[in-house]
Amino acid sequence: MSVDLSAWPEEARPLARRILAFIEGSLRGRPSEPFEELALALHRFQARRCPVRASLTEGPVDRLVDIPAIPVGLFKDLPVGTLPPDAPGIRFLTSGTTLGGRGEHRMRSDALYLHGAVSWARRCLPTWPTKTVNLLLDPAEHPTSSLSHMVAAFAPKQSWHLGPRGIDAEGFRRALAQGPAFVGATSFALAALLQRDPSPLPPGCTLMITGGFKGHTTDLDQDSLYDQAATHLRPAELVTEYGMTELSSQLWGRPDTAYRPPPWLRAIVIDPVTEEPMPCGEAGQLRFVDLCNLDGSVAIETLDQGILSEDGSVALLGRLPEAPVRGCSLTVEEAWMTREDPTR
């Protein structure tokens, strides 16, 4: 597959080529170089151009685990990445429903992003779609949604049935009446569909469920959602996806299996208190090293928890458990809800 790297300036293009070569090679089972080597090169490149990464770099960075993982909260109000403020490119924003504010991930081009995302989805999806019918935001109207941007690249025929006022169940059903499709849905949108119209999908559909319920009120937990989706919608295949706006790569799984990252994305599980890496099989806070994040941050620290397996797959356990509220001070959620709109 030809990937246009011309959006990147001369100084970044060698790294872009190395990333591309790594993706191509690792998909064939022969990575072009060690993961750690490329990750360290990306860190050095970004530390020279991103003041946030430079500020967080203390001491020598010689190993993968030395690479500072930028906490996702910093994306809200600091310019994380190597792009100058006025540089053209793609801009994705987080939903901003959990921690208030909206994190920003900018990239010069979506060429690497889409190449990685599509290549790995092709590996993970049982059948490659020719049409998608989605309970996701329309990327034409919401160009800052990274999820919609990715799914839009799966097939040329596509329709979108989620808007600011909720799902368009009737339009969704009409679009599906023309035959099987890949159905992309957020957990919350799917819960709304199950409540409003739980009739089966046409035979042959693949249903992708992604995201948690953050910022939304629902009576369903994730496992119940999977059960109900399987029982009522009866998709031919049910797959799960985990991605973050701050990442360029995604993990795919199934309701009863761990998520598989592509070879160019690595999860690291740490003890949230001591910051020490946790052994495989033990739960901890998730960090990711994403070789596709050329313009953003090669390593990020999430507020999610998971368990890493020997094969690199990750069992996701959701958000780090809220410290059972120990005081009567504001929680993060409350602080955001309580904030007065300065424009009001």
Binding site: L74, E301, Q305, C328, S329, L330, A335
Partner: protein, 351 residues
């Protein structure tokens, strides 16, 4: 022996009790200081003043502590018992905190503890100390006709100018300077209380303020070691630390952290002994910053009495001297109300 005499005896037994088993997540020294401070507010004089207020007791009271500092219920329980109510203290399942000790030492006082959600039946007053969401749920589940008082989460800040403060016997010895008082306020309950200063605004230059407060925070940490820090707290504090490393100035010691940042990076969320310090040229700028969360602002501790009007204007409900933020008097305004009037049915005889 009157009910109030029994309450005084109960208070004295709690003062002498071994509280180590009730520690939950505070260090033994931290919990001891918190309990002593709470019991100090229940002085003979304060109890006498409350007892003299005219009113009728509620027959059955339920005090629910789902998310609060461990001593918050003590004052409520004491006053409700003193009035003559039967009191049920509902604590979170698996986290009874001080409740078992309080019940064990209650003597003949009608204090029952439970973690059972069905404890609301028959209550004619319910006090909820928890999040706004918990308050909402309890209101929905309360028996018809029951009075429900909810005290949700809030935040507090300090305004420090360096003006001298008069001596105060309730301020811990060794912490009587302005910065010492701030450290004592920020350390009690490990800084998780809604009366704890999450942000310190100061007219003093940032580096000087940080150095002074750092010295005091270290002394406080040695006297009252930090308790347990939970995973999500640790993760959020690491995030805050990274943020400060990029845009601010840090001071950090064993179990405490100061984040010198500009007003635009302030967050009113409390993390264990993690305090933002914001140096501003004028009170106006401090007030403007705090006003973003004005509706949830509880207490402002200060050494500048002339600032009170500005703080009240943006929503603060209590202004006090530094060192007294988390050591309030029994009769005080809490969440905008004089809470002691919620412990009985006020009556008036106008014949």
């Amino acid at each position: 022996m009157t009910r109030w005499d029994e309450v005084r005896a109960w208070r004295d037994r709690l003062r002498r009790a071994d509280i180590v088993d009730a520690c939950d997540d505070l260090s033994p020294e931290g919990l001891r200081e918190a309990v002593d401070s709470a019991l100090e507010a229940l002085s003979d004089e304060a109890l006498h003043d409350v007892a003299s207020l005219r009113g009728q007791p509620f027959a059955r009271a339920v005090v629910i502590t789902t998310g609060t500092v461990p001593t918050a219920a003590l004052e409520w329980v004491a006053l409700l018992l003193g009035r003559g109510s039967q009191v049920t203290w509902k604590h979170p399942a698996g986290r009874p905190g001080l409740a078992p000790l309080a019940a064990q030492l209650a003597g003949g006082l009608p204090l029952r503890i439970t973690s059972d959600r069905d404890c609301l039946d028959g209550a004619d007053v319910i006090v909820v100390l928890g999040s706004d969401e918990t308050v909402r749920q309890v209101r929905a589940a309360a028996p018809k006709g029951a009075q429900v008082y909810g005290h949700g989460h809030a935040w507090s800040c300090a305004w420090v100018t360096g003006q001298p403060l008069p001596p105060d016997r309730r301020v811990p010895s060794g912490f009587t300077s302005s910065w010492g008082r701030v450290a004592a306020d920020a350390t009690l309950f490990d800084g998780r209380g809604c009366l704890s200063p999450v942000v310190v605004f100061t007219s003093i230059p940032l580096e000087r303020a940080l150095d002074s407060l750092a010295t005091a925070m270290q002394a406080a940490a040695e006297r009252w070691p930090l308790g347990i820090v939970h995973p999500s707290e640790a993760a959020l504090e690491r995030q805050r630390r990274a943020h400060t490393r990029v845009v601010g100035t840090r001071r950090r010691g064993e179990g405490w952290a100061l984040h010198g940042v500009s007003a635009r990076y302030v967050s009113p969320v409390a993390l264990p002994r993690s305090v933002a310090v914001v140096s501003v040229p004028s009170l106006d700028q401090a007030v403007e910053c705090a006003s973003q969360w004005g509706q949830a602002l509880s207490t402002v501790g200060t050494d500048d009495p002339t600032s009170a009007a500005a703080w009240f204007e943006i929503g603060a409900t209590r202004i006090c001297a530094l060192g007294r933020m988390q050591r309030p008097p029994l009769d005080r305004v809490h969440d905008g109300v004089r809470w002691i009037y919620q412990t009985f049915r006020a009556t008036a005889l106008e014949l």
